[in-house]
């Protein structure tokens, strides 16, 4: 490892599993450098056993999210200059998920909950049918489109206080997806999904702290989606379509 120089970053990286600890590294600062590049430098040049996850490098796969100076972020699209405070970086795995090793979190609870909230399209047509004509200006389609570009990176889930306090809570991403499906008139599981998201651990568990929309790298509003689900569930109670 080279001597610490004025241009170096002082980087603390989580090593080990849940009972691990931070280790400190000196990484040369560069003009074009993302947090993922910093992590990569440590693995390539300082400690070849450092574990982390990434794939696409451009903010499309959502594999590389980590906690950077206390906040969940995509590391591939986070320039060091935007987040390094006094040349200091602290990088940890995503919160609210089990740690596999070092910076790699186990995402499976996140996807289990996505499914628990009815997060899959239920078809009513088949490949033998023509594609359904749907005008992009239809109000429910506009609502669905507003939330559809989620890449399931887990940033909102890791940043959610309610998830931290309530392990049963399915979290913002799953509810956001459920909301887009509730506004998809091609879907055939509306009633079942509404029952799922209105159950314990569903939309009513949200305390509207709005961290999800503050943190969402895609600028989506899971908070808005969750309030939409709450309203929809309330109407269904009043109509007697949903048991309280």
């Amino acid at each position: 490892m080279s001597e610490a120089a004025a241009g170096d970053l002082s980087v603390s990286i989580w090593r080990g599993g849940a009972d691990g600890a931070f280790a400190r590294y000196q990484v040369p600062a560069r003009a074009s450098q993302t947090v993922l590049d910093v992590v990569t430098h440590v693995q390539r040049h300082i400690d070849p056993t450092l574990s982390y996850r990434f794939a696409c490098r451009v903010g499309m796969c959502g594999s590389c999210a980590m906690t950077v100076n206390g906040r969940p972020r995509w590391t591939c699209r986070t320039h060091v200059s935007k987040v390094a405070e006094g040349g200091r970086l602290e990088i940890a795995p995503l919160a609210n998920l089990p740690v596999i090793k070092d910076l790699a979190a186990d995402m499976s609870p996140f996807f289990e909950k996505w499914q628990a909230a009815g997060g899959a399209f239920a078809p009513t047509l088949s490949r033998a049918d023509p594609v359904e004509p749907i005008r992009p200006s239809e109000p429910d389609r506009v609502v669905a489109d507003a939330g559809i570009e989620c890449i399931n990176c887990g940033v909102c889930y890791a940043g959610c206080d309610t998830v931290r306090w309530n392990a049963a809570y399915v979290g913002p991403a799953a509810l956001n997806r459920a909301w887009t499906l509730m506004n998809d008139r091609r879907d055939g599981a509306q009633r079942e999904r509404l029952a799922a998201v209105a159950a314990d651990g569903g939309c009513h568990a949200c305390h509207s702290h709005q961290s999800c929309q503050d943190f969402c790298p895609q600028s989506l509003s899971p908070t808005g989606a969750i309030s939409g689900l709450k309203r929809m569930a309330m109407k269904a109670y009043l109509r007697g379509e949903l048991k309280p």
Binding site: R30, A31, S32, Q33, T34, D37, T40, Q43, P48, T49, S51, R53, F54, A55, C56, R57, V58, G59, M60, C61, G62, S63, C76, R77, H79, S81, I100, K101, A104, F111, W114, Q115, A120, F121, P123, L125, S126, R127, A128, D129, P130, V131, E132, P133, I134, R135, P136, S137, R141, A144, I148, E149, C150, I151, N152, R177, L181, D184, R186, D187
Partner: protein, 578 residues
């Protein structure tokens, strides 16, 4: 080392468009079968289908036809495609898009009247590219992965790396696949009655490349060692505008979309001079291969930007308009520290897609019984050039076909086959080899490989350079085999996997260089400075490389014009395709 044994009726390697479609189709065709998807990263989150920006070519619109899509594909492929594979691609695409919309739950962009929007895409005579904004791949993969997660019967082996295709002792069929569990570092032999290889190609052996970081040609390296024929291996597609952000950043090489040039973006040399007029009257709107070669020539002539590329300039179109029209690109550049809308951004040609791969039949079967192949691991659909929008069509069409076919083949051919234990042992030793050598600098070798391939086997090739390339590959491989990794921490050891990636890349790089040396003409993505003419189309051949014993053999096979011959068209009334 202890090697765990598990069984599944169907094993699918890869979770891009091909792998996920195969899993859905196989499971839905026979839910009693055990179907397992093994993927190098997380399910649906690695690989390149997710990164598709452009869209999906399909003849679903009034005025278009399967024949027209076919002719565009054949013309684009410079008459090298296998016409039965290309026909299967274009004729199955409409059903696949209807399935994506109606059963999987994708929602593609609509016209104001509610019908599917088709956008214009380079090299096509009809605006047939169905898309979801410029994030089409995310919509397709997100919806597919949800459907796979929903089917609880589909097994998942995430963060599992395929190491080797293991045949029977007689070598007459595939018995299963040796894998490494990346998380634990343990080896596992997965015995399967049918295997789909859909790991994606991904020419990441070049200095500048677009594919996701997990891609390292593992599938083709495994196929080569299994003795399978690889075709069109000289055909590497370069995209003209990869982001050039300097060394030591993973941002470098990532693609800046085609539409920037289409909309009127300018390319400038290091001194700020617009240079495309020196190369083609269509200027920046010339085809990918022409623009890539022009930029490459500017770089060779030394007229470069500080990091050794050229500039793209959009600001003359109005920064506010550019920021609105290309929001995704502008946002990404901004996050990475560059002002695409108002400033200059350095770009460089970047290796994007691999047309070469395993030779296969239209039903995705290979020469080895039990092994099927789809997506970028397969070859013959695109010939010398892939049309933008035919990549995701290819992976989803043939992944689905493989998923339909494998249960039928299993029903007809019976049970599990016993593996050649000596091959398992040899392949296990091969992957553990770096732990037997003194630790060294794997990354330095990776850097050398990328420079070598870029310089000698890249955008513009000639005989002398290709010979230097082949010699350089031998030297890098020899050094790699003496470069070790400290043992003791095999769990989630990315450096071990970097080593394995590099070995796959060196093996496939050698095949690319050999095939490029063999083709003494210039077609599509393959350009020989010493043989710049395309050659006679009517007597077109394609290259086939296979390993026999310890050596590689290469042959030229005649293209069979089973549906249309050069100079003819399937379109009625005849229209000249451009």
């Amino acid at each position: 080392m202890e090697i765990e044994r598990i069984r599944t009726d169907i094993l699918i390697l890869g979770s891009g468009g091909a792998g996920l479609f195969a899993a859905l189709h196989a499971h839905d065709r026979n839910p009693d079968l055990a179907v397992t998807v093994a993927t190098k990263g997380l399910l649906g989150k690695c690989g390149c289908t997710r990164m598709v920006q452009g869209g999906y070519n399909v003849s679903l619109h009034a005025g278009d036809s399967v024949e027209r899509h076919f002719m565009d594909t054949i013309e684009g492929g410079k008459w090298l495609p296998d016409q039965e594979l290309a026909w299967t691609l274009v004729s199955t695409a409409p059903e696949r898009v209807r399935e994506l919309e109606n059963e999987v739950g994708c929602f593609f962009d609509r016209n104001p009247d509610g019908s599917l929007h088709g956008k214009a895409f380079a090299g096509q005579t009809f605006d047939r590219t169905v898309h979801k904004g410029d994030l089409t791949g995310i919509e397709i993969i997100n919806r597919l992965m949800e459907q796979v997660w929903k089917r609880r019967g589909i097994g998942k082996l995430e963060e599992h790396r395929a190491l080797a295709l293991i045949p029977t002792p007689a070598g007459d069929a595939l018995a299963g696949v040796l894998m490494a569990d990346i998380r634990t570092g343990h080896l596992r032999f997965v015995q399967a009655r049918a295997v789909l290889m859909a790991t994606g190609g991904g020419p990441t052996m070049y200095r500048y490349h677009t594919p996701s970081g997990d891609k390292s040609m593992d599938g083709l390296a495994m196929a080569l060692r299994a003795g399978l024929p690889l075709r069109d291996m000289e055909m590497v597609q370069f995209h003209p505008t990869g982001l050039l952000a300097g060394p030591d950043t993973r941002m470098t090489g990532t693609v800046l979309e085609e539409g920037l040039r289409g909309a009127g973006g300018h390319l400038l040399d290091g001194a700020g001079r617009r240079f495309m007029a020196d190369y083609d009257p269509k200027l920046e709107r010339a085809t990918r291969d022409v623009v890539s070669r022009a930029i490459y020539a500017e770089m060779k002539a030394g007229r470069t930007t500080p990091n050794g590329g050229v500039y793209i300039r959009m600001s003359h179109l109005g920064p506010a308009d550019v920021a609105k029209r290309f929001k995704g690109m502008v946002d990404r550049c901004r996050d990475c520290g560059f002002d695409l809308a108002g400033g200059l951004v350095e770009v460089v040609p970047t290796a994007h897609y691999f047309m070469g791969g395993v030779a296969c039949r239209p039903d995705t079967a290979t020469e080895l019984p039990g092994l099927f192949v789809a997506g970028e691991d397969a070859s013959g659909m695109h010939g010398a050039n892939r049309l933008g929008g035919n990549g995701v069509a290819n992976s989803t069409v043939f992944g689905g076909i493989a998923g339909d076919r494998m249960p039928d083949v299993i029903a007809a051919s019976g049970g599990f086959r016993e593996p050649d234990e000596s091959r398992i042992a040899a392949e296990a030793a091969r992957c553990l080899h770096p732990f037997t050598r003194k630790p060294g600098d794997v990354n330095a070798l990776r850097e050398r490989l990328m420079d070598l391939m870029w310089d000698e086997v890249g955008v513009v090739r000639d005989a002398a350079g290709l010979r230097r390339g082949l010699a350089g590959l031998d030297a890098i491989e020899a050094e790699l085999l003496e470069t070790g990794i400290a043992d003791g921490a095999r769990a989630f050891n990315l450096t071990w996997h970097d080593w394995l990636n590099l070995r796959s890349l060196v093996e496939t790089s050698r095949v690319i260089a050999l095939a490029a040396e063999r083709r003494e003409n210039s077609r599509g993505a393959h350009y020989r400075a010493d043989f710049p003419e395309p050659g006679d189309l009517a007597t077109s051949t394609f290259t086939v490389v296979r390993r026999v014993g310890e050596s590689l053999t290469i042959t030229d096979e005649p293209v069979r014009f089973t549906r249309v011959r050069p100079g003819e068209t399937l379109l009625e009334p005849p229209m000249a395709a451009e």
